[in-house]
C-alpha cells in the first residue's frame, strides 16, 4: 500500500534520467528561500524602527543578520547531514522564528522610554533573549540531525521516551503551585527566574512512543473488532492504552488546569491511532471521549466546582468575554480588540500599541502581531504554518516505513493542532487555553521543542526524498547516514532487534 503511493519509481523502469530528477536535493532553493525570509525579517525590523523611532538606525539589519547566520549554520548542517530534506521547511520556520524575534524586539522598543529606544542593543530585552534561545534551539536541532542519521533509530528508545514523556507531563502537576503555576495553569517548572515547560518536550517524547506502539499494534487494532451500528469497534483489551492516554489528558486538564495541552495530547494520540489503523471509529471514539470529558468538566465545574471550576470559568469567558471585560474576560477582550483594531491591513509594524496587551509576548503574540499586520498579514502567517504542516504530512506520505509515516504525520498534525488551539483560543473560536504559539512566542522551552520537531521532520523528509539506491542490503551493511532501507510498510520490521 505504501509503495504504491510512494512516487519513487523503480530504478529499473524509470532509468537514470528520472532518478537524477528525483534525486535533486534542492539545497540551493532552500538557501535562496532562507535569504528571502531573512530579507523579510530585516524589512520588518526596518519598518518597526521607522514607526517607533521615526528613523531607521544604521544597524537595523543586525537582528536579521544574527538570525540569518544561525539559520545558515543549520542550512549547512542540513546540506551535509540531510541533503535530501524538504527545502521549504527551514525557510518557512526561519521566517516565523525571525518575525517572532522581530516582534519581541518591537515590544521591547515600545516599552522603553522614547529617549532610550535608539540605543537598545541587539541582544537586549526579550527580543535579544529570544534570539539567544533561537541559537540554542537551532544547535539542538542540528545536534539531533547529527545524532539521528536515520529516523528509525529513535524507535529503539520508544519505551524510555514514553516513560520520560509521562514523567514530564506529571512533574508540574505534582509540584507545589508556587513552583509550577503561572497565570492559573500548572505547566511550568520554575527555578529562580528561569522557567521551563516540560509539557513542550513531553509531546515529542510521547509521540515517538505512540508511533512505535501503534506500528506494533496496528494489525490487532485494525483487524480484531466487533461491528456495532455499522462501525467497527476495537476489542476491550486493545482499548487499554487509549483509555490510559485519555486519563493522562484528563489529569492534565484537572491538575494542571490546562484544556489546551490536554486537547493537544489527546488529538495527537487519536490522530496517530487513526493513521495507523485507518479506522474512522477511533476518531469517533476519541471525539466522543474528549467532548464528553470536556462537557462533564463544564457541568462539574458549574455544580461541584473544585478542580473543575477553572475550566468552567474559562468556558464562561469564552461564551461571553464582554460579560466581565475588565477582570475575568480582560485578556480575551484585549486580544479581540487588538485584532479588531488591526482590521484588514493592520497599523503597520511598530504602528500599533500591542504592548498594552496582556501576555503579548506569550499567549497573545498572534493578536499583538495581528494588530500591526492585519488580516492580510495574519492570513499569510497562517499559510506559512499550513505550509509547514502540509510539508510534514507530505514527508509522511513519501517516507517508506510505517514508523516514519506515523512519526512525521503525528508531529505535523500536532504542530497544526497547537496553532489551531492557541490561535483559535485568542480569537474566541474555542475556549482560551495557555498554549505557546509555535516559533513566535517568547520562551526557550517552546522554541527548542518545536525546533526538535522540525529536525525530526527534516530527517524523515530526507529519508523520504532520498533516491533509492539499487539493491537492498541489511541494516548492518548500510553506511552510516546512508539511505534508509526499504521496509515496504512492513510494521514488524521496524521493531526487529
Amino acid at each position: 500500500m505504501t509503495v504504491a503511493a510512494t512516487p519513487a519509481p523503480s530504478p529499473a523502469t524509470a532509468g537514470e534520467q528520472s532518478g537524477v530528477r528525483l534525486a535533486r536535493s534542492r539545497r540551493n532553493a532552500e538557501l535562496y528561500l532562507l535569504l528571502l525570509a531573512m530579507v523579510l525579517v530585516a524589512a520588518y525590523g526596518a519598518t518597526v524602527e521607522a514607526n517607533l523611532l521615526d528613523t531607521v538606525t544604521s544597524d537595523f539589519w543586525m537582528p536579521a543578520a544574527a538570525l540569518g547566520a544561525v539559520f545558515l549554520g543549520l542550512h549547512l548542517v542540513i546540506r551535509f547531514l540531510a541533503p535530501f530534506a524538504d527545502p521549504a521547511l527551514l525557510p518557512a520556520v526561519a521566517l516565523l522564528n525571525g518575525l517572532g524575534v522581530g516582534f519581541l524586539r518591537r515590544i521591547d522598543l515600545g516599552d522603553a522610554p522614547v529617549a532610550e529606544r535608539e540605543s537598545l542593543a541587539v541582544f537586549a530585552g526579550q527580543g535579544g533573549r529570544q534570539l539567544a534561545w533561537t541559537l540554542g534551539a537551532v544547535i539542538l536541532a542540528a545536534g539531533l540531525l547529527a545524532i539521528m542519521r536515520d529516523h528509525r533509530s529513535i524507535s529503539r528508545y520508544a519505551y524510555t521516551l514514553g516513560l520520560a514523556g509521562i514523567v514530564l507531563v506529571m512533574i508540574p502537576a505534582v509540584l507545589p503551585s508556587s513552583i509550577s503555576e503561572i497565570n492559573g495553569a500548572k505547566l511550568w517548572v520554575r527555578v529562580g527566574s528561569f522557567s521551563i515547560q516540560p509539557g513542550e518536550f513531553a509531546k515529542l517524547a510521547l509521540l515517538v512512543f505512540f508511533a512505535y506502539y501503534l506500528v506494533r499494534k496496528r494489525e490487532v487494532l485494525s483487524l480484531a473488532s466487533r461491528r456495532f451500528l455499522g462501525i467497527d469497534f476495537p476489542r476491550g483489551r486493545d482499548l487499554g492504552p487509549v483509555v490510559g492516554v485519555w486519563l493522562i489528558s484528563v489529569l492534565v486538564l484537572v491538575f494542571e488546569k490546562d484544556l489546551g495541552t490536554s486537547l493537544l495530547y489527546f488529538g495527537m494520540f487519536v490522530v496517530t491511532l487513526y493513521i495507523a489503523t485507518e479506522r474512522v471509529s477511533w476518531l469517533l471514539i476519541g471525539l466522543v471521549l474528549f467532548f464528553g470529558g470536556a462537557y462533564l468538566a463544564y457541568v462539574l465545574g458549574s455544580t461541584v466546582g473544585g478542580p473543575f471550576a477553572n475550566f468552567y470559568v474559562r468556558a464562561e469567558i469564552w461564551l461571553d468575554p464582554f460579560a466581565d471585560p475588565t477582570n475575568k474576560g480582560y485578556q480575551l477582550v484585549q486580544g479581540l480588540l487588538a485584532l479588531g483594531t488591526g482590521g484588514l491591513f493592520g497599523a503597520g509594524p511598530g504602528g500599533g500599541q500591542p504592548e498594552i496587551l496582556p501576555e503579548v509576548q506569550n499567549d497573545f503574540i498572534f493578536a499583538g502581531i495581528g494588530e500591526e499586520i492585519g488580516l492580510f498579514g495574519l492570513s499569510a502567517l497562517l499559510v506559512v504554518y499550513l505550509l509547514i504542516v502540509e510539508r510534514g504530512l507530505r514527508a509522511a506520505l513519501a517516507v517508506r516505513d510505517s514508523f516514519g509515516k506515523l512519526l512525521a504525520g503525528g508531529l505535523a498534525f500536532t504542530l497544526g493542532l497547537q496553532v489551531f488551539v492557541i490561535v483559535g483560543g485568542i480569537s474566541k473560536l474555542i475556549p482560551l487555553t495557555g498554549q505557546t504559539t509555535p516559533f513566535l512566542s517568547a520562551g526557550g522551552s517552546s522554541l527548542m521543542a518545536n525546533w526538535l520537531l522540525i529536525a525530526v521532520l527534516l530527517r524523515v523528509s530526507d529519508g523520504a526524498r532520498r533516491p533509492v539506491t539499487g539493491g537492498g542490503g541489511g541494516k548492518a551493511a548500510r553506511p552510516s547516514g546512508g539511505p534508509p532501507e526499504q521496509l515496504h510498510g512492513a510494521p514488524t520490521e521496524v521493531i526487529k532487534p
Binding site: V271, Q353, I356, L382, L386, S427
Partner: protein, 501 residues
Amino acid sequence: MNAPLRRVGVVVMVLFGLLFANLNWIQAYKADEYRTSDYNGRVQVAEYDRKRGNIEAGGTAVATSKETTGNLKFLRTYPSGAKYAHVLGYKPVNLADQGIEQVENDFLAGTSDQLIGDRLKDMFTGDDTGGGNVLLTLSKRAQDVAYDQLRNNEVGAKRGAAIAVDPRTGAIQALVSMPSFDPNPLASHDTNEAAAAYNKLEKDPDEPLKNRALGETLPPGSTFKIVVAAAALENGVTKTTQIPAGSSYTAPTSGTPIRNADPSICPTRQVTLLEAVTESCNTGFAQLGVRLGAETLKEKARQFGFEQEDLTVGQLGEGGLPTAASRTGTMQNQDGSTDPAALAQSSIGQNNVRMTPLEGAMIAGSIANNGSQMRPYLVRQLLAPDRTTSYYTAKARELRQPVEPPVAADLREMMVSVVQNGTGRKAAINGYTVGGKTGTAQSAPDRPDHGWFIGFALDKNGNPVSAVCVVLEQAGPGGSGEAARIAGQIMRAAIADPGGR
C-alpha cells in the same frame, strides 16, 4: 497509511480554514466595533499623540498640554488648579471627560470636522499642529475674586456658589462652586492615581465634584420676592401702592404664621411695595402672593426661566454644560385646589420653590438689561491650532423677555433701593449703581439658613455691566449680608478687568 494521512491533511486545512474564517469575522466584520470599544485603550493613546489645544480665560491658558516622555505623549495640566475646575472639568485617561474638556473635546483634540483643513495641511507639511484652542468668556480677575472670596467667606460656609454674567450679552464672567477640586491628579497618566483621586472626591460628603453654580437647586428665600414683585407690577400694583403687611400673617386656611426676620421690619398694617422690597417684608409678600394667585406667580417665574430643563451653557449653539431646572413646585392641596399656606410660603421663596445660582444671576441680569434675558454662554471663540483662523465667535442671543422695559425699570429702582437703603448695603460699589436682593432661606428646621444675594451693577450711563448671584449654603446669621459683600467684590473685579467692559 497514506489515505488517512491525506485525510489528516484535509482536516488540518479545515481547521486552518476555520481560523481564517474566524479572523475574517473579527478583523473585518467586527473591526469597527472593536476599534472603538470603550475597553480599547488604543483610542486614548491615539488621542494623546496629538497636542491638545488650550482652554484660555482672559488671555491666560487655564488648561494646557505638556509634552512627556511616557507612552501617552502629552499630559493635560491645569495651571490654576482648583480655581477653574467646574468650568474646565477634566480630561482623564480612563474616567469620563467633564466640563468644557468634554463639551469641546472634538475641537480641542483636533478631530472636529471644522479642523479638517488643518489636518490636511499637516499631511502635506508633515507637522502636527495639535488641536484647536477654546477661549472662554471668564474674566480672570472676577474668577480670582469669586474663588478667593467664596473660599474665605466670613461666615464660615463650606459650600456655596458664585456666578457673574454680563447682562447685555449673557457672557459668563465668573463661575465658582465651593468646595472645588484640583483636576490635575484626575488627568494623571497613572490611572491608579487618577482613580484614587476620583474616588476620594466622590466620597467627600461636601461633593466637590458637583457644579453648584449650574446644578444645585436651593430654596431662594427672599430673592424670589423679585419675581413676585414683577408679577405684582404687571397686575395693577405700582411701587408706591400700599400693600398689606404687619408683624405676622397667617394664611386663610391653616399653617404656621409667617413673620418677618426682625420685628422692626414692616410692623405697620400697610407698606409701599418699594418699602416691602427694600426691607424684605415677609408678611407683605406672602399676602401679595396669595392675592396674585399661584398661576400668576408660576407663570411669571416661568417667564424668568424657571422650569427650563434643557438650558446648556457652552457655545450659543448646541451642547454645553448641563444645568438644573429651577422649580416653583407645587402649591396645591391634594384635591387640586390652591393651598394658600403653601402659596404664602412660596411667595417668600420657601415651600417647594428651588432655584439655581445661574437662574438668580439671569433674573438680576434681565432686570438690569431692560427686561431682556440673554442666553448665558462660556465659549467666546474657537481658534485654529495656529491661532490665525477663528472657527466660531459667540454672537449674543436673547433667550426670552421676562418683563417689559417699564416693569424692569421699576424693579431696578426697587433693587437699587435695597443696596442703598436696605438689606444689601454691603454690595455697593463706588462710582456704580448697584441693585440687588438678599435672601435668607430655611434649609431644614435644625440646620443654619442659606444666604443668598442676586444683583447687578450699572455704569454712570445706566448701562448694565455685571449681574451676579452668590449663595452660601447653611451660612447661618449674616449669610445673605456676606453674600452681598462677595457679590459686590466680584462685580467690581469684573468691571475692573481690562478684558471686561
